[in-house]
């Protein structure tokens, strides 16, 4: 780890101000990606701005029938929240399946979505649950937020403050874990809002995406077997030593089926 200056602002405004002051500052969420990156000397920020002591970024509350989760809410807090379990149980269950206990006790929702790791779990929930990402300056629709591998619509210096999830009629997340890292090789979040079905896929591609064919098929007939004719093309999907693009494409359908079945 290279030396850096550590800051712990008490408000979003202070954090924004700090961001403007330094040459190469970096925001610290839960640190589950950033800290290993620093330890491996793969990043060299001049300043680290820890968002952990900002009350505005904390908390889980019901809002407009859905849920608003503060950006600095840790995965374990989402997983164990009675509110989340009651309003959107699939979101609690997704959070309970992230990484391991240590990761869940440190990692945060805001950190996860801002990092936009192609194999992170939360992006699937954000997209499937028609979430709105709130920042210090605006609201961003989930369909616009994730723009590519490790890329988001955030502008330089913009801080995510909360995510508002809409409450679905039913929803479930099915994930095929990388046996080594336990990140998602493929994760599929299925959510039903009236006649609308959203199928968000993480892990398989460079960034989270919606499986249009599957959404259409399920909107017609919300049963696992309805997915038999639907598929995601392997072209353009991720491939590594753990899973080829073909295998990922296959797993998208298997996980989608399982998510539909889990919706009950």
């Amino acid at each position: 780890m290279y030396a850096f200056t550590y800051h712990r602002p008490k408000s979003v405004a202070d954090a924004v101000a700090l961001l403007g002051q330094f040459e190469d500052p970096k925001l610290l969420g839960g640190g589950q990606t950033l800290l290993p990156t620093l330890k491996q000397r793969l990043a060299r920020p001049s300043d680290l701005i820890d968002l952990g002591q900002i009350p505005e970024l904390q908390g889980i509350r019901e809002e407009a029938g859905g849920l608003t989760v503060g950006a600095f809410t840790r995965h374990a807090q989402v997983a164990h929240s009675e509110t989340v379990q009651r309003v959107i149980p699939a979101l609690a269950s997704l959070a309970e399946g992230i990484g391991d206990r240590q990761v869940r006790n440190m990692g945060t929702l805001g950190g996860s979505i801002c990092n936009a790791d192609p194999s992170a779990d939360y992006p699937a929930a954000v997209v499937a649950l028609k979430a709105t990402v709130r920042t210090d300056r605006r609201e961003i629709s989930c369909d616009d937020f994730f723009t590519g591998m490790f890329e988001t619509a955030l502008e330089p210096g913009e801080i995510v403050t909360a995510v508002h999830f809409q409450k679905p009629d039913k929803a479930a997340y099915a994930k095929f874990r990388n046996p080594a890292s336990r990140y998602a090789i493929v994760g599929v979040f299925v959510a039903v809002f009236g006649s609308e079905v959203r199928v968000a896929v993480t892990g398989a591609g460079p960034s989270v995406f919606r499986a249009d064919d599957m959404e259409a098929a399920l909107a017609q007939d919300f049963r696992a077997d309805a997915l038999n004719g639907a598929s995601v093309p392997a072209a353009g999907l991720n491939a590594d030593i753990h899973a080829s693009a073909d295998y990922r494409a296959h797993l998208v359908r298997v996980m989608a089926r399982r998510a539909v079945e889990a919706c009950g």
């Binding site: 491996q40 000397r41 046996p179 080594a180 890292s181 296959h250 797993l251």
Partner: protein, 796 residues
Amino acid sequence: MANPTGIGASVRRREDARFLTGRGTYTDDINRPGQTHAVFVRSPYAHARITGIDAAEAMQAPGVIAVLTGADMEADKVGSLPCGWQIHSKDGSPMKEPPHFPIARDRARYVGDAVAVVIAETREQAKDAAELVMVDYEELPAAVTSLKALEGGAPLVHDDVGGNLCFDWHLGDAAAVDAAFAQAAHVAKLDLVNQRLVPNAMEPRAALGEYDRATGEHTLTTTSQNPHVIRLLMGAFVLGIPEHKLRVVAPDVGGGFGSKIFHYGEEAVVTWAAKKVGRPVKWTAERSESFLTDAHGRDHVSHAELAMDKDGNFLALRVATIANMGAYLSTFAPSIPTYLYATLLAGQYKTPAIYAEVKAVFTNTVPVDAYRGAGRPEACYLIERLVEVAAAETGIDKAELRRRNFVPASAMPYQTPVALQYDTGDFAKNLDIALPLVDYDGFAARKAESARRGKLRGIGFATYIEACGIAPSNVAGALGARAGLYESAEVRFHPTGSVTVFTGSHSHGQGHETTFAQLVSERFGVPIENVEIVHGDTSKIPFGMGTYGSRSLAVGGSAIVKAMDKVERKAKKIAAHMLEAAEADIEVKDGRFVVAGTDKALTIGDIALQAYVPHNFPLDELEPGLDEQAFYDPKNFTYPNGCHVCEVEIDPDTGVVQVVSFAAVDDFGRVINPLIVEGQVHGGLVQGIGQALYENCVYDEESGQLITGSYMDYCMPRADDVPSFTVRYHEDQPCTHNPLGVKGCGEAGTIGASAAVMNAVVHALSEYGVTHLDMPATPERVWQAIRRHTPAQAAE
């Protein structure tokens, strides 16, 4: 009443109190006044010529004390890391043994090869400066896999090793095997890969060098399984330091699995540099460094053929193996794919003729050496996979085919066609215990139940035998070992009757402090709280060979027994004098020295006190004191054996394999501490399951970069990956040639498990026509195998 801390008691491990509460003292926990920190500059290329090293900028960095290179070591006449075993090729020529310098001189030969070392006041300063060392590399094409390294025109890892061939060795009777194959009614054939593994000891390697200018004494504290071996190799061959001026200490060591047997360059560098900079020098590997530089394991590519008669009797076995040695010969590397592998190819079977050929190959990868089981898992995997193929092809039940070919207990001692002589073993008995234990007859019903849930189910066996103890010295010497393979012990009674045992064995997780103390408790009736086991410090313990190859109890424990024999002989003489009886009348009963037929008795404590306060002592015939030393050189290897049975369920939709049950029936000879034995078996099984399903060391075949360089990509087995194990052992077949009748249990689980799991996986997939799958059986490999064999899905 049985001694609660004697032989056979499940005494809880005494060492766990400190290990489990963070109070162990590992090498990195030790800090010396004035200590400096070493960080290595390592080659980012698999193969490159080093054309220049400019350390000027690094030397100017804050806190930097020195930047040292291979040239500096050469100037100080530092030698090459020696290889401890010499193999001769078929044609009689010795193996190729290119030099292996602690810091590379003109060529880097694998990613991670040390090129320079930076020594600074703090570790972070050393790391900062290491990035400033400018190394000019001229990148060369790399030979990465063993098969490609053997191809004509492959890049040469060492210019003077043609074809990258280290040796081309063989064992057995080729003519007899050819003749048997000519008679065969059926031949089963198999090509298989035993993939490369990264050892992943929990504690990374570390080394701390110190030099005392006043006495001229060097001290190396290091993460080693055998500190005396390191002292001998490093002192005599690398640094030219005589034993009496070199102390090597291996304190608490957090796991080794073989990877901490070897003498590594970093040990020599910190020892040498401590004198050069006049201050202690410490190096501790980061986990990424462990992946890159710890000696790896396995990495065999084999072809095997088994000839049978019409009744399924094995007639002959023919094996050809290519073994990857990596870029240099690690300490015991040449012995692993030869005398610890091919000699085990008889397995539990009376196959009359066996012929094995082994080509050892240099590649641009980190050296490969012993890893838990070391050669024996490779042999077991090959035989047991081949036997299951034979069973499937002949239609003979796989348990029955094994039983038909077992060496019968009545044939013991049994001379195999590949050099070993098994002393004891009742292989049919192991199987007889295992079959009802796993409800073999109920498998069809369980398979049907799995099928109802959409799952495939398979059952697989592995019946293994291994050679442990690595002995005797004269035999090992004749086979190429450049060391003796005995063990030492000293049993020192103190005046008030407490005991210190000094052992040449080394515990790095095996529980010696408990098991060895139980031996003393049993013999002399001393509670184990009064027995201290000391190991790991060449300044305290007699010259010993250390711990590997499941040898500690069989060889180290036997040395303790021999030392206790001497203590008892002397104690009897003292007791006879004190009790005014004839020595011949003194009997040892329940730890008491009794005059036969009387109630006159002394405890060992009474005798020890008299030995050190010899007021009433036969000083004319005995010296005071009660402190004896012994060396034990075994007559033979020991032969643990067993039958492992695994059941798996496979999800055909994803290819995920789940081990749903695993039973291990083992013959370890006599068992001293059942709790520790069970723990060793559990750990071994998990490691074997890890190889079968999860672990795989992958280098990029062109660039030689390590792709699986972290836990993000190198998959270790975890607690939720394995079932609750069913472990049984029997003690009916004690080893016949050591005083305890013990055989060793440290590697058994690893040796049997991989084969049992893979046999179960292939069995589950057999309904698709799958006949073999290479390890690890990852979800995608399994899914692809299913897809290849399912035309409808493949077309989709």
